[in-house]
C-alpha cells in the first residue's frame, strides 16, 4: 500500500481551476520531485496535502486512510506530515531550541527530556548544535532553513514536504540545505519536493512529476525525465535551464 495516495484532486481558486484532476501516489521511502513552470500549481498541491488549502473534489489518503473529510482532525494528520516552507517561517520570538520543541511538546505531548535529546541529535547532524539558544534573527538564511527542517523532523513525520526551500537563499547557502535533504533521502525518508534546482532534482529524485497549467503532464524516473522527456512541454521547460546554445560574441537575436 502506498504511503500517500492522491486521487482525482481538483482545486479552484476564485473560480480559477488551479489543480486539475491530479492523481499520483508515493511509496514509503520514495523521493518524488515535482517540477514545472511557476504558476503551475506545485506549491498549491503541497499545501493541499498538508490541509493548508481546501480541495473541491478528490481524495487524499495517508496509509490508506482518507484525510480530507470534514471530520478530519488536521492537527493530528500534520503531526505525521512535516512541511518546510520557502520563507523558513521560524517563530521569531523563540530560540532555535524552543522552535524545535514546540510541536513535540505541545502538539504531541511527548516527554521533554526525550524530545530535547532528539532535538540536540538532529541539530548536531545539521551542524547547528552550537546555535540552539540563538534567536532566528541571529542566523543566516541557510541556517534558518536547516533549523526549519529539524523542526519538522523532530515530529518524527512519515512524510516530508519541501516547498521551494532554497528559493529565498543566497546561492552560497543553497548547498548546505540541499546536503541535509540528500542525507535524509539516503536514510530512506519519504519526501515530496518542489524545487527549481535541476541538478539536485536529478540527484535526489526517484521519480519526477511534471506539472504544467495545473495538470500532471508527465511522470517519469529522474534519469529518463532529464535525458528523454516525452512531452513537448517538458522539453521546453528543460530548455529554459540550458545555456549551451548561447555563445559570447555570436549574434543571438534570432533565438531571442
Amino acid at each position: 500500500m502506498a504511503l500517500l495516495e492522491v486521487i482525482g484532486l481538483n482545486k479552484y481558486f476564485d473560480g480559477f481551476h488551479v489543480l486539475k484532476d491530479i492523481s499520483f501516489s508515493v511509496e514509503k521511502g520514495e523521493v518524488v520531485v515535482i517540477l514545472g513552470p511557476s504558476g503551475s500549481g506545485k506549491s498549491t498541491l503541497l499545501r493541499c496535502i498538508n490541509g493548508l488549502e481546501e480541495i473541491q473534489s478528490g481524495q487524499i489518503k495517508l496509509n490508506g486512510e482518507v484525510i480530507n473529510e470534514d471530520s478530519t482532525k488536521w492537527h493530528l494528520i500534520r503531526q505525521k506530515i512535516g512541511m518546510v516552507f520557502q520563507s523558513y517561517d521560524l517563530f521569531p520570538h523563540m530560540t532555535v531550541f524552543e522552535n524545535i520543541l514546540l510541536g513535540p511538546l505541545k502538539a504531541q505531548k511527548r516527554d521533554k527530556k526525550e524530545v530535547a535529546r532528539q532535538a540536540e541529535e538532529l541539530l548536531n547532524r545539521v551542524g547547528l548544535l552550537d546555535r540552539k539558544n540563538f534567536y532566528p534573527r541571529q542566523l543566516s538564511g541557510g541556517q534558518r532553513q536547516r533549523v526549519a527542517i529539524v523542526r519538522a523532523l523532530c515530529m518524527n513525520p512519515e512524510l516530508m514536504l519541501f516547498d521551494e526551500v532554497t528559493a529565498s537563499l543566497d546561492p552560497e547557502m543553497v548547498r548546505e540545505v540541499l546536503d541535509v535533504m540528500l542525507e535524509l533521502a539516503k536514510e530512506g525518508m519519504t519526501m515530496i519536493i518542489v524545487t527549481h534546482e535541476m541538478e539536485f532534482a536529478k540527484a535526489v529524485a526517484d521519480r519526477i512529476i511534471f506539472l504544467d497549467g495545473g495538470e500532471i503532464t508527465e511522470v517519469a524516473g529522474a534519469q529518463e525525465f532529464f535525458t528523454d522527456p516525452k512531452t513537448e512541454r517538458a522539453k521546453n521547460f528543460l530548455n529554459i535551464f540550458n545555456f549551451k546554445e548561447y555563445k559570447k560574441g555570436v549574434d543571438n537575436n534570432e533565438k531571442i
Binding site: 488536521w74 520570538h93 519538522a152
Partner: protein, 219 residues
C-alpha cells in the same frame, strides 16, 4: 516664586497626583480589556458582535471625552441613571481608551503573518495552540509601543475630569489659583507633577520601542 508656599501645597499635589494615577490605572486596565475584546472580535470576524464593536469604535474615536463626561454626569441622571463622578470618569476613560487599545492590538494581530500561522499549523498545533503560542506573543510584542503610547494618552486625558468636579491635579491647581492667587507656583507644581508621572513612562516607552525594533518581530 514663593518656595515656602510651594512646600505647603506640595502635599495637596501629592494627593491629587495619587488620585490622577488611580483613575488613570483603572481607565488603562479597562481600556486594555475592552480593546482586547474588540480586536479579537474583529480578528476572528465574529458575526453580529463585529458590527457593534465597529460602531462603538467609531463613536469613541469621533467624540471628545469632555462631551462624553458631560453626557454621563449631567445628562444621564435626567433619565434616571445616576452615576457618581468617579464612575463617570472611569466609564468615559474606558470608553475612549478601549477603541485606542483595540487599534493597538489590531496592529499587532495583523503583523503576525499568515506564514507564521501556517508554520504553526504544519507542526500539528491546534488553532487554539497557534493562537496561544504563536499569534499572541508576537502580536503583543508588536503592540507594546502603541499600548504604551495609549496609556500615556489616557493619563493625559484624565486632565479634564475636574470638569465634573473630581479632585485631580487640574482641580487642585484651579483651587489654589482661585483661593491664594499664587498662579505661578500652582502652575509650576502642576507641570512638575505631570512631568514626574509622564516623563519616566515616556522614556521607558522609547527604550522598549528600541529593544523591540531590534528584535524585529512581525513584518
Amino acid at each position: 516664586m514663593d518656595i515656602g508656599f510651594i512646600l505647603e501645597i506640595s502635599s495637596l499635589y501629592l494627593e491629587a497626583a495619587k488620585f490622577t494615577l488611580k483613575l488613570a490605572s483603572i481607565g488603562i486596565i479597562l481600556s486594555l480589556l475592552i480593546g482586547l475584546f474588540c480586536s479579537l472580535v474583529n480578528y476572528y470576524k465574529v458575526k453580529f458582535l463585529k458590527k457593534i464593536v465597529n460602531w462603538y469604535i467609531e463613536l469613541s474615536r469621533n467624540t471628545p471625552l469632555l462631551i462624553q463626561l458631560f453626557f454621563l454626569y449631567y445628562g444621564l441622571p435626567k433619565v434616571g441613571i445616576k452615576l457618581g463622578a468617579f464612575t463617570c470618569a472611569v466609564i468615559g476613560l474606558a470608553f475612549l481608551g478601549g477603541s485606542y487599545m483595540a487599534e493597538a492590538f489590531r496592529g499587532g494581530l495583523e503583523a503576525v503573518s499568515k506564514a507564521q500561522i501556517e508554520a504553526g499549523l504544519s507542526i500539528g498545533l491546534t488553532k487554539a495552540q497557534v493562537t496561544r503560542y504563536i499569534i499572541f506573543p508576537q502580536a503583543l510584542a508588536v503592540s507594546i509601543p502603541s499600548i504604551g503610547a495609549n496609556a500615556i494618552f489616557i493619563i493625559k486625558e484624565t486632565s479634564i475630569v475636574s470638569a465634573i468636579s473630581l479632585k485631580d491635579l487640574m482641580f487642585v491647581t484651579k483651587d489654589i489659583i482661585g483661593i491664594y492667587y499664587k498662579t505661578n507656583e500652582a502652575l509650576l507644581m502642576l507641570v512638575v507633577a505631570y512631568l514626574i508621572i509622564l516623563l519616566p513612562l515616556s522614556l521607558l516607552l522609547t527604550y522598549i520601542e528600541r529593544r523591540l525594533r531590534y528584535a524585529g518581530f512581525g513584518n
